[in-house]
Symmetry: C2
């Protein structure tokens, strides 16, 4: 990651001020060049197009679950995970200068953000909700419109980016709301970082009774912890799945290498999507 010294270009999905931008800065600091991309497809192609050195993709939210499209594009793009970061998702009500909660008639945001603030809308039943593509873009539009009756729900960084006024803080119903992002790169380094303690694999199995049990056996036998299992449909093969495994393990370790060797004999496809330092401890720090 030598280019991190010379202002690396980090692609993220959304507009300036998005939660993804917040995550990029939390992971890499403010000394990066941010490359906003309008869609997941554009995000995952940014590295191969040469317009970014890395892409930061959301993989999972602690309430909503895995972001299936990101998992699919991770395999399709051939990008590798080199780091991960977890940020808390806090929803703020953001309006124009001079606005107040009492003046707001319309609130715009991404449908998921709107659905995570049910308590606020129950307490303000006259407010109309408008679904939008992007939380940060909602703030931009509200500020451009200069209408005291309109507000957006988004993060603090979106408020700062568009100079919006925070009308109410922490609208989220559930405070245990985190999103996990993966920093992706094109170059598959032959060696994992010394600090690497997490391994992500995508596997396919033959359709036989016990196939998944046999695939997990090399890891279980060595006491390697399975942190997450995710399955995604294989396109063109209805009811067949690619299975994603997050393991507490490093390819620097001989036992893990042996387990991977055994897995390759038991699976019809094994793809190593990255071996990297986990964000589990970073997450604990953010909570405190």
């Amino acid at each position: 990651m030598s280019e991190l010294i010379s202002q690396p270009r980090i692609a993220f999905q959304g507009e300036r001020g998005a939660f993804s931008e917040e995550a990029a800065v939390a992971l890499l600091g403010e000394g990066i060049k941010l490359v906003p991309r309008p869609s997941f497809e554009a995000l995952f192609s940014a590295v191969s197009e040469g317009i970014a050195d890395h892409a930061l993709a959301p993989l999972e939210n602690s309430l909503v679950g895995s972001i299936g499209r990101a998992y699919d594009l991770l395999v399709e793009s051939g990008l590798q995970i080199e780091a991960e970061v977890v940020i808390p998702i806090a929803h703020q009500l953001i309006g124009c200068r001079g606005a107040a909660v009492e003046s707001i008639k319309v609130v715009e945001s991404h449908p998921v953000a709107l659905s995570q603030c049910e308590r606020f809308f129950a307490a303000h039943p006259h407010i109309v909700r408008v679904a939008a593509d992007d939380t940060a873009a909602s703030v931009r539009r509200v500020i451009e419109r200069r209408d005291l009756r309109h507000a957006a729900i988004a993060g603090m960084r979106a408020a700062r980016t568009y100079e919006g006024t925070i009308l109410a803080e922490h609208l989220e119903d559930d405070p245990e709301n985190y999103t996990r992002f993966a920093l992706l790169t094109a170059a598959a380094s032959p060696h994992a970082s010394e600090r690497a303690d997490k391994l992500t694999l995508a596997i396919r199995l033959s359709h036989q009774p016990g196939a998944l049990h046999r695939a997990l056996d090399p890891f279980a036998r060595r006491g390697i912890d399975l942190l997450k299992i995710e399955s995604r449909p294989v396109k063109g093969h209805p009811w067949e799945y690619r299975i994603y495994l997050d393991l507490q393990a490093s390819t620097n370790d001989g036992g893990t290498k042996d387990a991977l060797g055994e897995l390759r004999e038991r699976a019809t496809e094994v793809r190593l999507l990255g071996c990297y330092p986990s964000a589990r401890n970073a997450h604990r720090e953010l909570e405190a």
Copy 2:
């Protein structure tokens, strides 16, 4: 299912003519009373509210993957799966009488449906796409508006329901597009149907290396096939998961009962979500 004889009331999500309605009729025939519900929450509460005898919920699409919210509500609602059905998803371009593909300027549909017709939009780059909540509702609006420049993308049943004209058939990029629905009921029958050959479980495991491997062992050892594994976050417990297992098995079988007994000793939570006849063969018939 004795009430199936006296016109059972089947709740589904969406407006009349939706793909869910198509699935309900494919499973139960036209002699049912259809109860449209505006949201997943309203769908899953329809049985306990007494306004429907059964609810039909989409669980999975062969391209998009599992419908996470439906899995969460399945556990929260306490409803049981009593049957399943798979229908092919074919997207039609539907407009007013007198309209033609050449006259269309705006096409409205659910974002997933729009995204599954990329080839059509690439061939008609001047057409503006408008995202809507519901495919069937898009057809209703297009027909009400009587504007020859507007069309919707939805299924054949929506076209018939609102007397829309099919302007173009099979807009879907990928013909291998199927959605699997579960018929849900409140009464947990003590005995599975004789034709039952599929078992759905939701389990939680202690966080220990090998926990999932140990949980699958009772089934693998007996040659019981795991058809699908799905994981969903547990709310309020970031990075903990509830795991959903679809098994080719019936609780009528002694070996399956023994396996479930062993699983209960290895898991912190085991919930039987249903034992029912699988739609796998029905799916093959639909393909033919």
